[in-house]
């Protein structure tokens, strides 16, 4: 069971975070201020940290993060902030955070991102041949086969499938896809990502069984060999 430290001063948000993360299978501990959080970070090894940007007391979120990175602590950190601006996001990422989410947030988005961070070490970026059930993708030759049949994909479709396969069994949200595949960070508002996924689906899943790409309502998509993907707590 992966463990997760939540450092958040607002009681309501903290309880919401803790119950959501516990339901998703994390062992969760929470701290309410920067000093206590900093101590807790040094006592235990954590798989992932959810850190509020603004904290009462001497040390705020960015301060904690900078101290962690200065200590050589590479634990994945998701910054949670009410400050929604590109500048703030860039500052957070520069300070060494691995991801940045603004309040108010949707639990499914947060869970997908925490999951992505905590699993970061379990899947290998170096793997050149990815396999999910009977679907195979070779990064070097850019060849995709399913049940031995070669499937022709556009370059962007290929990268989309690669991203989904590298996050197998994990929910990826639309903004994660836009960031991970197109490398843009903004809210596309319309259904562009859905249309891209449905195109990919028609090539990967239409003529084959079982379907591998699943829609998770209100959250995003998951690529998984499991026939159905259970409802996501939100």
């Amino acid at each position: 069971m992966p463990n997760c430290l939540v450092i958040e001063d607002d009681t309501e948000t903290r309880d919401y975070l803790c119950s959501g993360l516990r339901a998703a299978g994390y062992a969760v501990q929470a701290e309410t201020n920067g000093e206590a959080g900093n101590r807790r970070l040094q006592e235990t090894r954590w798989d992932v940290v959810v850190l509020d940007r603004m904290l009462p007391g001497q040390v705020d979120g960015l301060g904690i993060l900078e101290q962690m990175r200065a200590r050589g602590d590479g634990t994945p950190v998701l910054i949670l902030s009410a400050l929604n601006s590109v500048d703030e996001r860039v500052r957070g990422l520069r300070a060494g955070s691995d991801d940045y989410l603004t309040k108010p947030f949707v639990m499914s988005e947060l869970l997908a991102r925490v999951e992505n961070l905590s699993r970061r070490n379990s899947w290998s970026r170096e793997a050149t041949v990815l396999q999910v059930a009977d679907l195979q993708l070779d990064v070097r030759t850019m060849r995709v086969t399913r049940q031995g049949t070669t499937i022709t994909l556009q370059p962007r479709e290929f990268r989309l499938l690669e991203y989904l396969m590298r996050h197998e069994g994990q929910i990826v949200t639309r903004t994660m896809l836009l960031e991970g595949v197109w490398e843009y960070h903004f809210d596309p508002q319309t259904n562009v990502i859905d249309v891209q996924i449905s195109r990919l689906r028609s090539k990967i899943d239409k003529d084959f069984s079982p379907a591998l790409i699943h829609t998770v309502r209100g959250a995003g998509y998951v690529l998984s060999a499991a026939p159905t993907y259970g409802p996501v707590t939100r």
């Binding site: 500048d87 197109w182 596309p188 508002q189």
Partner: protein, 458 residues
């Protein structure tokens, strides 16, 4: 608290009008003094000089007689001089021996010492029984006697008195004029400023539509014009704020009342867990739309404050346009629209994500509102050296009367109210373009509509 214009009448020292008037008066007095000095020395001075010349001429003439014919000749010549009927009433001539006795001439008893030899000086002398002031020269002769030549200064004194009196009167008149002029000047200045102050006081009291009455084309008129222009701008901004808050209230009411009714229904039907879940989900969706509305408003505010320019970097506009075209291609095709990109690499300084989201918004609009046009063109080009990013559709376009309202917050063209959206898209695009020091040009075309982000020359 705003000071009312009447309570704010400044003390004399604090009044700029008074200080200007005093300065003006002093300047006038100095120039009057200079003018008076010139007049005085031009009249009295010249007269004095001519007297001195006459004295010297007579003295030289008499001294010659002495050299030529001795004392006898001199006395004869003095007599002739006094009876030549020229200046006889002001001329003073005399021969005084070493003991101070008057030997010849018309001079009377003098007061004090005679001046040193061959030196013009002022002195006093008895003439016709009364002391008068004279200008005189005393020349010592070889036998110890002295030749005195001089002139009664009665004429000079008369002229001097007249000139001095005239100058004194004019000085008094000019000081009076300066004083009253300053008062008039001050009251006129205060009247002009008072008009402006009364207007600003009315505005401070909330009467925002009041304006300064501008007359003529002087400095105050121009100041009034400037203030009026500033007030127009403030009023327009206030109008905008009012419009925005009305729209926010309206746009929030709809989803919030939907949430409320759903939660209400969920409470009543709490026996059915499926209905509860469905209602909760819909309520969350509505709240999400409210949050996204706020996010957009905050984004516009943040963009307009311009703080983000710090993250700018050099980037290729065409690469972003290419990426966004590719991202939207499939969605456009579903709507029966062919999305097409043309352009060459064009470097500008900017924020990649902001530019991408602005372009995404323009493409989204073009697909949404240009649906029946069949195609949408995205183009990156350099027009007159200025990089431009253009999105053009071939749909039904925008009615001309709506053109200048398009970038207003929450503004939606009537015919598009049934389509999803909140009327903030073009406001955000405008804010992003302005953050990049560019302008957003919107044009009606036959057929269709074109939006162009034009950036400053590299």
């Amino acid at each position: 608290m705003a000071r009312s214009p009447d309570s704010g009448r400044p003390g004399l020292r604090g009044s700029i009008a008074f200080r200007l008037a005093v300065g003006y008066g002093v300047l006038l007095a100095v120039s009057m003094a200079t003018l008076s000095a010139i007049v005085y020395f031009g009249t009295v001075g010249v007269f004095e000089h001519s007297i001195d010349n006459k004295i010297m001429t007579v003295e030289t003439h008499l001294a010659d007689a002495w050299f030529r014919d001795g004392r006898i000749g001199l006395v004869r010549e003095i007599d002739a001089q006094l009876h030549d009927l020229i200046d006889t009433d002001t001329e003073v001539v005399g021969l005084v021996d070493a003991k101070g006795r008057i030997l010849a001439g018309n001079m009377g008893r003098w007061f004090g010492d005679l001046p040193a030899s061959r030196e013009l000086a002022f002195g006093r002398m008895e003439r016709n029984g009364a002391p008068v002031s004279v200008r005189l020269i005393a020349t010592r002769l070889e036998d110890g006697s002295r030749l005195v030549v001089g002139r009664d200064l009665i004429e000079l004194d008369a002229i001097r008195t007249v000139v001095e009196r005239a100058l004194l009167i004019s000085a008094a008149v000019s000081i009076l004029l300066a004083f009253f002029g300053a008062q008039i000047f001050r009251s006129r200045l205060e009247a002009r400023i008072g008009r402006i102050r009364r207007t600003t006081a009315r505005i401070a009291a909330g009467e925002l539509s009041s304006r300064i009455v501008v007359m003529g084309n002087d400095e105050f008129a121009r100041l009034g014009d400037d203030i009026n222009r500033m007030l127009d701008r403030i009023e327009a901004l206030m109008e905008g704020v009012r419009h925005v808050s009305n729209s926010i209230a309206h746009d929030l009411r709809t989803p919030l009342s939907r949430v409320r009714s759903r939660l209400d229904r969920a409470l009543q039907a709490s026996a059915d867990p499926h209905a509860l879940v469905a209602d909760a989900r819909l309520a969350i969706e509505d709240i999400d739309s409210v949050i996204s509305l706020f996010d957009k408003l905050l984004q516009i505010a943040a963009l307009e404050s311009g703080v983000r320019a710090g993250t700018f970097e050099r980037l290729d506009l065409a690469a972003i346009a290419h990426d966004m075209t590719e991202l939207y291609e499939a969605a456009a095709e579903e709507q029966g629209i062919a999305l097409h990109f043309t352009g060459t690499p064009t470097t500008i300084r900017g924020d990649r994500d902001l530019l991408a989201s602005a372009l995404a918004s323009l493409i989204d609009n073009a697909i949404k509102y240009g649906r029946n046009g069949g195609k949408v063109d995205v183009e990156v080009a350099t027009v007159d050296g200025a990089p431009a990013l253009t999105v053009r559709d071939y749909g039904q376009g925008v009615p001309p009367e709506d053109m200048d309202k398009l970038t207003r917050r929450f503004y939606r063209v009537d015919q598009s109210r049934h389509l999803p959206g909140n009327g903030l898209g073009l406001s955000i695009v405008t804010a992003i373009t302005q953050l990049h020091e560019g302008t957003l040009a919107l044009r009606r075309l036959e057929p269709g509509f074109e939006a162009s982000m034009v950036f400053p020359r590299a």
